[in-house]
Amino acid sequence: MDPIHEYGQALTRRHFFGQTSLGLGTAALASLLPAQAARGADGIPSVPHFAPKAKRAIYLFMAGAPSQIDLLDYKPKLNDLFQKDLRTMPDVQKGQRITTMTSGQSSLPIAPSKFKFTQHGKSGAWVSELLPYHARMVDDLAIVKTVHTEAINHDPAITYICTGHQLPGRPSLGSWLSYGLGSMNDNLPSFVVMTPSWSGRQTAQALYNRLWGSAFFPSSHQGVSLRSKGDPVLFLSNPEGIDRDTRRRMLDRLTRLNQQTFENLGDPETRSRIDQAEMAFRMQASVPDLMDISGESKSVLESYGPDVNTPGTFASSCLLARRMIERDVRFVQLFHRGWDQHGNIAKDLVNQTRDVDQPAWALIQDLNRTGLLDDTLVVWGGEFGRTVYCQGGLTRD
């Protein structure tokens, strides 16, 4: 065992497990932590009711607030209440505050979903016609309809759900996982983020680097944003005029010179720097390998739908997510924007669900096929949902 490495570990993970009280972080850890590791760390407080299985997670984040009542939360009663004013039902609103987008309206007219819901699978779960592929795998899903948030604006809401606090300044979920559980591979980062393109209204709510930032954690735990244009990882490629052999020659010399520095000064960080440079060199090969989907079978590619061949789409990002999980990336998060439809739900939601329905389904099938689903948690959700009443007049036609 390398004493320096061991020391670093002592400063971080063990301490963390020893000191943490129950909170979001621990809960996330507990569900992801292999049972064995939990026993090894002194004092992880209480284990959940089921033995944790997941080692990795994929978070498909629908940014902008997907309309739950048009997708997975069937509310037939709304049909009876069509056009009724929510203000006349104080026992429903229960004094909850509403955004100033609509609080000045004279009435809050209720509108049911215009989309058809049918029951599926053995569970008989109701699913909207907008998600035909999700309907097929409904028995593999746990649909949580009781999520509650306190924020009424997008920025504080998405910051809360990704970092646990409405204001910036806390580490993101993925950086917690990286910090608490460490990396499972030597060639790729442990937390990767993608921001795929979207087909709905192009005026979309913003994202913020803080959603995958490390805040007061060391920056090694921040999410690495994988880009679809230019270098997939920032500064990955050698500049034109430097080929891989030239880089290797430079690196060999760099290593020898740094080794001398280490021998002179004895700073363990120097050795670590040598290792990191080597890992950078390996990433220059492993990341392009990750991005190269030419080896995928035709049937797999087809399952993700036609967009899979266009880099930067949700479909191609889902496929990459599987490829990363396969390579033991700990946490992959996709931020799909464009879900902030307001009065445009009827027209616009269709575009968004078309982007995600089939690829998300294909991802699950693909994980299942390769056995990865056994220890990979896939989460689908947004920062909040939408109200049952309309903004302005009855715009939900």
Binding site: T12, Q19, T20, G23, L24, S46, T100, Q105, S106, S107, I152, N153, D155, G164, H165, L167, P168, R170, P171, P189, A204, A206, L207, A215, F216, P218, S219, S220, Q222, S225, R227, K229, G230, D231, L234, F235, S237, N238, P239, I242, T246, R247, R249, R253, L254, L257, Q260, T261, L265, G266, D267, P268, E269, T270, Q276, A277, M279, A280, M283, Q284
Partner: protein, 1028 residues
Amino acid sequence: MQIRCDLLVILVTFAVPSFADDAIDFNRDIRPILSDNCFACHGPDEGKRESGLRLDLKPNMFGKADSDETIVVPGKPGDSELYRRLISDDPDTRMPPPASTKVIKPEQRELIRKWIEQGAVWQDHWAYQPPVRPELPEVKQADRVRNPIDRFILARLEKQGLTPSEQADKATLIRRVTFDLTGLPPTIQEIDYFLSDDSPDAYEKVVDRLLQSPRYGEHMARFWLDAVRYGDTHGLHLDNYREIWPYRDWVIQAFNDNMPFDQFATEQLAGDLLENATRDQKIATGYIRCNVSTSEGGSISEEVYVRNVVDRVVNFGTVFMGTTFDCTRCHDHKFDPLTQHDFYSLFAYFNSIDGSPLDGNKKDHEPVLPVPDAEQEQQLTELNERIAALQKTINQPWPEVDAEQIAWERKVLDNTPGDKEPWTVLIPREYRSAGGADLKLLDDNSLLASGTNPAKETYEIIGTIDSAKWQTIRLEGLIDPSLTSGGAGRSANSNVVLTEFEAYVASPDKPEEWTRIPIREGWADHEQGDGNFKIANALDGKPDTGWAIEGHAKKENRLAYFLAEKPFGEQSSLLKVVLKHESVYAQHQFGRVRLSVSESNPIGANVPEEFLAIIKLDPEKRNEEQSGKLRKHFRETVTQTAGYVETRTRLAEAQKSKTDLEQKIPTTLVMKELAEPRKSFILNRGEYDQQKDEVPRQTPARFSPFKEEWPNNRLGLAKWLVSEEHPLTARVAVNRMWQQVFGMGIVKTSEDFGSQGEPPSHPQLLDWLAVEFRESGWDMKSFMKTLVMSGTYRQSSKITPELFQKDPANRLLARGPRFRLDAEMLRDQALAVSGLLHEKLGGPSVKPPQPVGLWSAVGYSGSNTVKFVADEGDDKIHRRTLYTFIKRTAPPPQMGTFDAPSREATCVRRERTNTPLQALLLFNDPQYIEAARALAQRTLNDVAGDSAARASHMFRLCTGRVPNETELAELVEGLTLDLQHYTDHPEAAQQLVAPNGEPPAGANVPELAAWTMTANLMLNLDEVVNKN
């Protein structure tokens, strides 16, 4: 799932290597155990305290429990309930209870036992006792002492049996100290001068020179800007541009001027409240405006207001007092003696800003201050003079114009029908409210609504009109004390939206047969500007559009004219007017209205009514105000007299130039106090809408007293903060400067000096430094000098196996500091050694190139920072990194990759990581490649001769020292191989040295390419990436 603020606490307390000796020290050894495991239930938080027991106060610790057992009996662990509970086997009595999941380890129990056995000496928390200058400790190796710092360090080392290291060699030392005082590497000339200077004060001369360099202020400012979270965007939602760089420049200047720290703190906290506050002192209050802000649609202003103020209080606590006030927003502190009452009493100092909590997504979110530079100031003076002169000319007698006016007045009178009062008030005969409001007819024939206040409202008003050729109907929306805020409307904000105006006539003998009067156009004396609220909307037949009067901002009478297509009411008849208020805005109806009719057309006559009325008066009978008004109107809009018109035009031009100039003049966000302070309330669970008791402005009692002679505002707060009795301010400040130089604070958790923070490694040294700093007049340059002049600082940083084993993190400082350079220093170094650095001080932030798409990947489509456009020009792209534009939701990758914070939240201590992404950046970032190319070119230009001489020179530029033989051999061999490669592959060489076109004139392309690779290697050397 609820996340609590405990999470913040647990993360920042990393394990300290234990140096405990036999004598137990309560603060060092015992308090941390109690704080971690007991205080949550038996500490300062009254709301969560179990069994009335608290272990953070002395009387309670030595008093009795509810069970009548004595908690701690000095000398007798067995009789002490505290210890008995720790070792109990019974899960019902054992502490901490198993359900709490907290565990006190056997060795910790043993410490507590020993402490009780040794007499259980109590100490109040160290950080809340004012520092007292300690005696300087005696040391054996007195010859190693260069200044008092060394005594404290040596005393501890001697106790631990460690030997300090030798002094670092001169080349290492000058590079180290140049980085620590200016953030830049030394030049070869500076190194040579130092090496050749054998005088005893050679090093001190270097230090003095560096402290005088303007680069010093830039370097020092950067740490402060992390702490106060300075950014160039608002940070939330749209994340638009925010203009506050003059504050950044103020910070730089303050350091360069060696402003004493007490003044530095006071001007930032309360510059605006100082007597005859200067412009600079007002700029300094930008500190209070550095918090992130938003203008997201749908935001509740009160919620954002609370958030902003909370952010300010929390930052104030961390930066100046190393105290985690954040916890007390929702509840009493779990670990430190701070209550929720304390929090909202501090809140009261920061809550009375004279401006909206929402930033309006604009760069100059009020309150702001214009900050013209000297040239702009000059232009402004000139323009003001020109305007004054022109105004004088225009105000002099103009007989020609006066004659023209008399003629015009006559003409207007000739064209205006009748000289009777043009308006006939309609006397309502019938009137009703569709929404059920009570309408009451007042003496002036207006109707006042009261009672039921429906969401939507339509008024119908019927009266008789005499036979005439009526043309215009006038609607007056009158203010009334009985209406909301004394305005004209009935809605909660007293605004009104009139969605439709309709008028009908009927003959008195057939009162039910109404004929619609077609309206040609409308005119209103005011229309709400933000959005589509024009008067025409009240005539378009659409119920969802309307005329809004902006009643929330304007509490005044409103006036609208409606001009009929053709005259109506030629026989005596009934007139019915229908006023519809049907917008989505609830209750936006007029509360008091009056109608009149006129035969004239005030819209078409082009002479507004108020002037017409004056014209109709005999000039002899006009008072001065009336004459003046009319003259002004005539001269501004009617006259054709050439000389006058020309003067008027020139004046308008000068005024426009002034407005244009003012728009170009930078502004900066400042603090300005409301005339009447806002009240502060304890907010239940920190919720903005759950106000509990009102609290006064008050500083936390536990820290130090607030003197009566101080004003109870931010100025008094600043005086309290820098008073001699304050236990934290000086300690926190010196600890941060220590951390800056030595890599780690004496208190490692520089953000938390409370019970959950780490106790100081050298408590007496910390106190000595704090007192020394304060008594020196808070002299920062002198303090920095004391640090770098110490023998401790000047030691070699070589780590021996023994040193590593005994003190891996170098807390005891038996060796000099060695750690990776910060993000800014790395890039600045590359620019400096390559000769690219442009040393301009201050000014707007700059945008050196960065990879495409980083902003658009996250930015809101409507944001003015969604599209990144790189600057051009040496004075923009090669500036010190301190000046790089910080978009807080997508900061520059060169920063974040090397642990720089995003500036959204405070950061008083950066982490220091070592990652492959950093290696990739240093390998391949185009800015680093450009620097490598320039470094290569510079070396080839500056050094004639063989490869060895050149490689040696380049190595010296980067490391400050001469390479040894092995190193030189490596470099030359590598160069030879690369040269061969690029000679064989000239196209690759061309790509590397001239990516955008032509290589430098006269360059040997393969040679330059090979040297560029060597330079790229140099900039990646561990020794170059580190301070050694």
